[in-house]
Symmetry: D2
Subunit: 131 residues, 4 copies
């Protein structure tokens, strides 16, 4: 299963003095892609949090290939890397308007109950959406 | 009443491709100065929020004089502009390591009760600290 | 003259622990709206910078009315507040998906030649676009 | 070889609505630690860039253990993971004021000549500093 965002324009404030998009922003791009995907599947992460389920990022990896610049647009492809259980494992690929691969990466998200502050299994309604 | 922060180094990720510190960061510098001041007065804003008092920014003004660059350090002077009542009114001046004025500005903060989602008067313990 | 962006989804990383979009982000939203407008007028700010013209922000004002939350979408309306000369003066209004006014504001931008590091008049090609 | 920053206070704007420091900020904390270390070794990265040497991040890994909150202070320990050659390989550990490990991670930085836009070997003056 995978999802690709529409083209997104680089924001000026995302650049740094090297004229590249600052490398920390790619984690934000990964995040917006996976939350947009959930939203497309009619899963509201905002509602999930109100219902008491947090999905903190447990680990993240980014491999930077070539920079994004102001003036570029990019798309994020997000792939469900394995069957959800105690974690959601996503892989990512960001490409620019020329189809060049900007970076690849992955994140692991856990499910956390704010009441117990402890990890919990992937909720059933999420499992169903991903099956 | 006023308070001045220790010198703070510009962070690389705060620059943009113009090589200047991005202009939105000055609002963050103002914020860290006023919260550090509260902290020095032994007012924990973290605790205030847990006690149900929010202090959202109602208005902000920034006048940019000369840029900050990576490699620079800066200090923020924050001044209580008037006696607190329904709002906290602060004025700011940021200077770099040469004493040049980087920017001036002001913010107005309200007190908000998250239960009623309505404005409230400045809490007494805060009033006392500022008197 | 004015321009309104398409609806833009709030990004999770733009929220703070008050659950509001952090107040510094509105300056970034203003920026993306005015640069998108320039882009729609076929003015590439990226190219302007390569040609040696910088447009630093000289002053900014934001009046916050009601918060934006994760899950919301917003539109930025940007208005040319007066005839361009030594500065570009914009006014802004951000509204959410319900049409509520989130904030209003204004910015003044100067034209700066990186060679002389001095202010310059609004370039002719820009003047023509705004006339 | 390793270096540990002084305690740094979490900034309010670094939190997200989960009340945690947003996970993208750890890459910024890693960055400020390594640049502060260079600065302590009397290597000015600002000057390096003016001399035409860029050090883009080629890859990054973060393993998140427990969150940082507003009100916390943290220290970043940065370790030179191997002898510099074509890349600088750093490992990181962030701890909070109680000594709890917040996250660990690593980054690989390349040396890039902006003239040729191509990778270059670690400059001699940097090699000497690290030996």
């Amino acid at each position: 299963m995978h999802y690709t965002t529409n083209p997104i324009a680089v924001r000026y404030g995302e650049t740094d003095q090297m004229q590249f998009v600052h490398h920390s922003n790619y984690l934000k791009y990964f995040e917006l892609a996976r939350l947009e995907w959930l939203s497309q599947m009619e899963i509201s992460y905002a509602q999930m949090e109100r219902d008491g389920i947090l999905m903190p990022v447990v680990s993240a990896v980014v491999n930077y290939k070539t920079p994004l610049f102001f003036g570029d647009t990019f798309q994020v492809k997000v792939i469900l890397a394995k069957q959800p259980r105690a974690t959601l494992d996503f892989e990512y690929e960001i490409t620019n308007q020329k189809g060049e691969i900007i970076c690849t990466g992955s994140t692991v998200l856990a499910f956390l109950s704010p009441k117990t502050k402890r990890p919990m299994r992937c909720p059933d309604f999420l499992l169903k959406k991903f099956n």
